[in-house]
């Protein structure tokens, strides 16, 4: 997670929204905690929505399956 965290911070620094989508989803996939996973998926979804990224639908589906949206 430390390496991923550094990548996330770097992506935030350079305002690389496309990178943030994948990095937040990766963070969600690494987490075993339900709330933490939905937290990271939410961020991935919001950035995908902002960019009109094709991942938005898939991420929305994951959150819906978790009852989080």
């Amino acid at each position: 997670m430390n390496g991923l965290n550094e990548k996330l911070l770097a992506a935030h620094d350079r305002e690389d929204t496309h990178a943030l989508i994948g990095l937040y989803e990766a963070a969600a996939d690494q987490s075993n905690d339900f709330i933490e996973r939905s937290f990271f998926l939410t961020h991935a979804f919001v950035y995908a929505l902002e960019k009109g990224d094709v991942q938005a639908d898939q991420l929305h589906g994951r959150l819906r399956e978790m009852g989080r949206i």
Binding site: F39, L41, T42, E50, G52, R68, I69
Partner: protein, 382 residues
Amino acid sequence: MATDLSGVLRPVAKANGLPNEHYVDDGIFMEERDAVLYQSWSGIGVTADVPEPGDARPIEFLGMPLLLIRDKDGDVRVFQNTCRHRGMVLVTEPKKIEGAIRCPYHSWCYSTKGKLVATPHVGGPGMNTHEDMPKSDLGLIEVPSHIWMGVIFINASGTAAPFEEVHAGLLDRWKEFDVPLYHGGEDSTFTLDVQTNWKLAVENYCESYHLPWVHPGLNSYSRLEDHYNIEEYGHYSGQGTLVYRQLEGQMGERFPDFPNLSDKWDTGGEYVTVYPNVLLGVQRDHAFAIILEPKAVDRTIEHIHLFYAEPKVDEALRAKNATQWKTVFQEDVFVVEGMQKGRYGRGFDGGRFSPAMDGPTHCFHDWVARQILGHRQKVAAE
């Protein structure tokens, strides 16, 4: 302070202009904002400001933060540029909305049609809904807008009758120009930052009386007697010419005409103010809009845009045309700034109007005065 407007409402031959306070007093400026500029259909920009779907441009209109946006279906919309959550301004610089408008504060997201589409963590960490936060109730606040002659008009108060109803007379008068207008692009737009009250720009634009004195270059072909007044009390005013002469390039090239115009427009041109703040001009081969942005009681930014009958017209001729109009409009600056300075003279009583020549200006004053008086009655009744 409530000014005495009875003198304005007399017939033009006996009337006085609006009192000085309407040009120098901050309180009256705010009253006019509410009574005149917010209550009516005011111009705030042109559709060319947001040419492509997803283009968004934040503007302020008399302090109100607005967002011009062309939605995903190509329709131009105007929203209050304020998040429905904690009131954060959403967009601070022109940008392309690729997917959704994301508030930079808590990341609530809106579609380009203003629909609230995401409320991250609104129900707690990772929980993106809450039963008391229905998205359908919390879309962006849309401001009623209307597009005409390439100009975006809004009714900030939301209380005006539909644009087509308010301006039915002018729309009918100029129905021949209800055709696609193509903005000339970056070289066909410019701004003038003028130290004057917004109304003085309207007043100067409405009348032809000043032309031979302020624009002597026009005298050679456009004499005072070749002009006529346009004055529709309660609606609009301006002036027309019978001797519009087309611009020509070095090889005699001209701009293409708007299609299917009647003979009237062979040498005709008309210059009308769409009350309160949009100055329009139409001729056979191009049109223009001047959108007055009141910044303060004594400061106005004029946004000038030139439009043509076809998307791509001759570049050199286009530049020549922009230069010609810029010269004319700059010649007017000392006049509107001078009238502004003159209104600090305490004995000035609003001035008198030439019954023959100043009807269009009085027509505007009469309209402004009636808007204000109507507003005062409403406020008094509340």
